[in-house]
């Protein structure tokens, strides 16, 4: 979409504003898409009072998503539209504070008893909790949940949760207590039980296959959260409504009992201008995924803008060092020195996208300040490339060595904000030092498939969010997302190019039960990745929402998914 910023940000006088708008509207109609900016800009401003009063019950919130949900199987709800639903319908054993990232009891009566080597976790369950189909929460049911999430079931194409590692089995101690056993230390498990990816399901739901968790069956998903799914129109709308009998909010929260809202209608529209227009014109209450250029327009119209931190790995590019062109650390350092991150953030984003100061966001667990590790210095970049043997220039001014051009390809990270624009700027910056960067075109499926091949993608643009130390492992380990393609046995790279140190450091992190030592292990991983010039982080990626003024008390869970439990609508 083109730049949709309002065309008259400077005019302050109401009369002048109206005149300008009319003239511009007339012009705009002839000027194609420019018309949209002008027309939308003259929708009435939201002037509802901003004063907060005591929360009131009632009202159904309408909320726009860019894509339809695909699967409500908890381990698969990392996809934003799925997570926005699952986070509100499900209850978990523990609750994680989005600000402090501290864990609190929710459906468990207390934090779990953890064995010294972090291979056994014992939870005691709260009583009187029921699922939306009326069945009670029992120890056997909780065990059944984690047996599925921890092991997956390939025969039903239900994958294992990436957040639960080394899972062995669940043991029902009595009707209120359940113990989880692990084959190796799994210190991240307590936090894993607090995420929406561990949202507990009723027994009837646990027996569903992948089809049962997909579109068309949403009303069969039974959970224990403050809302339950009541109606579904495939592909366009999902309605969740408050459970009047919900009485098991996390005990330390001030708000107890039923949610303030009567419900939420999730609406889907792929067309960005329609979603943002619906909220600006007051037809809808809220929208996720407000793009950076639209932020001023949204606030000017009087709406509330929420940029919620996702507390995970920063929006970064990862250099796949196993490719021959990137094997030399001097080349990687040169690329880092040639890229002006400040320019990217200033030109394409707003202050809601802070420049990265480490591999992790400042609010993330395990954050290490690495300011100064990535200095923009094109002269140094040129010098490093010359030293690395890329002194010769070929056609178009690109560097050549032994007849080979220094040409690399980066993927387009479609779920990430303005990935294509970011890479276009990087492309220009690298061109100045004689490095050719191609941006891989294509839809999500093509990006996913190409990213699995070292010959197609050598620089991988991505981010991932989970509020635990294990986030580092999820992203960099060769058995998880493997952003470097660092696993042995690949067809496109010799095994001796594997860097075993990365997995060794991540394994040390994953098996460290003590929090202080986990912090140290996390720092060791980050220091190594930075020293080796494997990663260049750009910015801390937020989730940006816009809501009408009458919507109060909007919050998100630790990685930026909406949490509507305490949201209310002022009448």
């Amino acid at each position: 979409m083109t730049d949709l910023r309002p065309p008259h940000r400077a005019t302050g006088v109401p009369g002048a504003r109206l005149g300008a708008t009319t003239r511009r509207s007339v012009l705009g109609v002839g000027l194609g898409l420019g018309a949209l900016a002008a027309l939308s800009a003259c929708t009435p401003t939201d002037t509802d009072p901003l004063t907060d009063g005591p929360p009131v019950n009632g009202g159904v919130l309408t909320y726009f998503e860019p894509q339809t949900w695909t699967l409500l199987y908890p381990p698969s709800v990392g996809f934003y539209p799925n997570g926005g639903i699952m986070n509100n319908i499900s209850a978990r054993l523990l609750w994680q504070d989005p600000e402090t990232l501290e864990l609190f009891p929710w459906l468990a009566t207390a934090l779990p008893e953890i064995s010294a080597d972090a291979t056994q976790f014992t939870f005691t369950l709260r009583q009187g909790v029921t699922y939306s189909d009326g069945s009670p929460l029992t120890a056997a049911n909780v065990a059944k949940n984690f047996d599925l999430f921890g092991r997956g079931d390939e025969s039903r194409t239900l994958p294992v949760s990436e957040q639960i590692s080394n899972y062995d089995r669940a043991e029902v101690l009595d009707d209120r207590r359940v113990r989880f056993h692990f084959t190796a230390p799994s210190p991240g498990f307590a936090q894993a039980t607090s995420t929406m990816n561990a949202g507990l399901l009723a027994d009837s739901t646990l027996d569903l296959d992948a089809e049962g968790f997909g579109p068309g069956s949403a009303t069969k998903i039974h959970t224990a959260g403050p809302f339950r799914i009541t109606a579904e129109t495939i592909g366009t709308k999902l309605s969740i409504r408050a459970r009047e009998d919900y009485d098991w909010a996390p005990p330390h929260l001030e708000h107890q009992g039923r949610p303030y809202l009567d419900g939420i209608d999730y609406l889907v529209n792929n067309e960005y201008s329609v979603r943002i227009g619906a909220v600006l014109s007051g037809q809808a209450d809220g929208v996720r995924d407000v793009q950076a250029p639209d932020e001023p327009r949204v606030t000017e119209q009087g709406l509330r803008l929420y940029a919620k931190a996702t507390n995970g790995i920063n929006n970064s590019i990862n250099f796949r060092f196993r490719h021959p062109l990137l094997a030399d650390i001097r080349v990687r350092r040169a690329l880092i020195a040639a890229i002006d991150r400040q320019e990217i953030v200033d030109k394409l984003f707003t202050p809601n996208y802070p420049l990265a100061t480490g591999l992790l966001a400042q609010g993330a667990m395990g954050y290490t300040d690495q300011t100064g590790a990535w200095v923009y210095d094109p002269a140094a970049a040129n010098r490093l490339l010359d030293e690395a043997g890329w002194a010769e220039r070929g056609a178009g001014g690109y560097r050549v060595k032994d007849g080979q051009v220094l040409a690399l390809t980066v993927n387009t990270a479609l779920p990430q904000p303005r990935s294509n624009e970011v890479q276009t700027l990087v492309q220009q910056q690298l061109r100045r030092v004689g490095v050719r960067l191609s941006i891989n075109p294509g839809d999500q499926a093509k990006q996913t498939l190409d990213a699995l091949d070292l010959d197609s993608i050598q620089i991988y643009h991505s981010m991932v969010a989970r509020a635990d130390y294990d986030n580092l492992r999820s992203n960099y380990a060769s058995v998880n997302r493997d952003v470097f393609l660092n696993a042995v046995g690949r067809d496109d790279a010799a095994d001796d190019t594997v860097d075993p140190e990365i997995d060794r450091l991540l394994d040390a992190l994953a098996s460290e039960p003590e929090t202080e030592r986990r912090q140290a292990a996390a720092e060791a991983v980050q220091t190594y990745l930075v020293d080796q010039a494997y990663v260049l982080p750009f910015f801390e990626e937020p989730q940006v929402f816009a809501f009408r003024r009458r919507v109060r008390g909007f919050t998100t869970e630790p990685v930026g998914r909406p949490d509507f439990y305490s949201t209310w609508i002022a009448s």
């Binding site: 067309e271 499926a445 996913t448 493997d482």
Partner: protein, 379 residues
């Protein structure tokens, strides 16, 4: 009226063949595209699955079977009404398509009818009224409307309509519209580009028929312009219009993809757009077969309608002459031979009939006739 049964069977056989070919072509083409939906979904970094886990799921879903085996399994499924499961969501394809179909049908029917009405109106007013004088500009403007309409991008029109009628004027809600309310803007979006070919073809054929001798004769007898249009021109000019109506169905499907995406309607178009992004081949196959079926059925209906509309295309002599008497051109042609065989072109008949009737009122119609028998207006 009589329908040739043998002809019908032949056409039905053709339709089945076309469906099979479309299915096979789509299957082969979708298989040739590198990467498939299973990998696209489960190798997605958002799931964080290892290569081994993905391989296990691939084996479980049968994605690694040989091409021919998969083809036969899928074909067998289609023949027994089992369209398989969406790779992206795991939901049954039949569920997804059944949920999307009514919305698309409603949009297609209303968009199509609106397009026909719009096309006919444009064509009528572009060929009606004075060709010279102060009001001639109306005709000139309307004459260029089809070119304008066909050039309007559907997505642009859709977004513009929403911006103006929903966000600015607040006439239509995009959030929770009633069933009729939800149809108004999408219908307009679909109908405008669709009406262009209809109007264009009708304008040409009306102009052509109007220049025909029998029309001049009728006018010479004192018939008003409107009477001529309704009684003499309309039926003759309809046939090319009918043909184009059958052909624009394809455009209707293409328009639905964009319209449904812009308006957030869950229809065949929207699920197609999503299936393409996710390499969801089972859904795409079902959509291709469904669209082919629609195309085949509509064109079959159009073909069967030809004889109903135009007596010249009927086989039986009785029906032809009985209906033919109602037409002014033929009512006036008592002298013309009644042997209306299929070998003789309509133009020959018209020519003869008009020559006879014209000479009876003392007018010499010296019209030009080219090799194909197309009539030309006298300068």
């Amino acid at each position: 009226m009589m329908i040739d049964v043998r002809y019908l069977w032949l056409r039905l056989g053709q339709a089945v063949l076309v469906l099979l070919l479309a299915f096979t072509a789509a299957f082969v083409l979708l298989s040739v595209i590198p990467g498939d939906g299973v990998t696209a979904r489960f190798a997605d970094p958002a799931l964080g699955l290892s290569a081994d886990q993905v391989a296990a799921i691939r084996a479980e879903t049968g994605a690694d079977e040989p091409l021919l085996t998969r083809y036969l399994i899928t074909l067998g499924g289609f023949l027994t009404g089992n369209f398989g499961f969406s790779v992206q969501t795991g939901a049954a394809v039949s569920t997804i398509v059944a949920a999307a179909l009514p919305s698309t049908l409603a949009l297609a029917v209303s968009g199509f009818l609106t397009a026909v009405v719009l096309g006919v109106l444009i064509a009528v007013f572009a060929t009606f009224g004075p060709t010279t004088g102060p009001r001639a500009w109306v005709r000139r403007v309307l004459d260029s409307v089809p070119s304008l309409f066909i050039s309007i991008p559907v997505f642009w029109l859709g977004i513009l309509l929403i911006q103006v009628f929903s966000f600015q004027l607040g006439l239509v809600s995009v959030v929770s519209p009633g069933p009729a309310e939800a149809l108004v803007l999408p219908t307009l979006t679909v109908a405008v580009p669709l009406s262009a070919p209809i109007a264009q073809v009708l304008i040409r054929s009306i102009t052509e028929v109007k220049a025909a001798g029998f029309v001049k004769v009728t006018a010479a007898k004192g018939a008003s312009e409107l009477w001529i249009l309704v009684h003499a021109v309309a039926r003759n000019a309809l046939l090319p219009g009918l043909t184009i109506v059958g052909l624009i169905f394809g455009e209707l499907v293409a328009g639905a993809v964009v319209t449904e995406t812009v308006f957030g309607r869950n229809g065949i178009g929207q699920i197609t757009a999503q299936a393409v992004t996710n390499r969801d081949n089972p859904i795409l196959l079902a959509v291709v077969v469904l669209a082919t079926l629609g195309y085949v059925v509509i064109n079959l209906i159009v073909d069967l309608l030809y004889p109903v509309v135009d007596v010249r295309l009927r086989r039986g002599r009785t029906a032809a002459s009985a209906r033919g008497l109602r037409r002014p051109s033929q009512a006036a042609s008592q002298a013309a031979p009644q042997t209306m065989t299929r070998q003789r072109t309509p133009d020959d008949r018209t020519k003869q009939a008009l020559a006879a009737s014209a000479s009876s009122v003392g007018v010499d119609l010296d019209w030009g006739t080219d090799d194909h028998g197309t009539r030309k207006a006298r300068p």
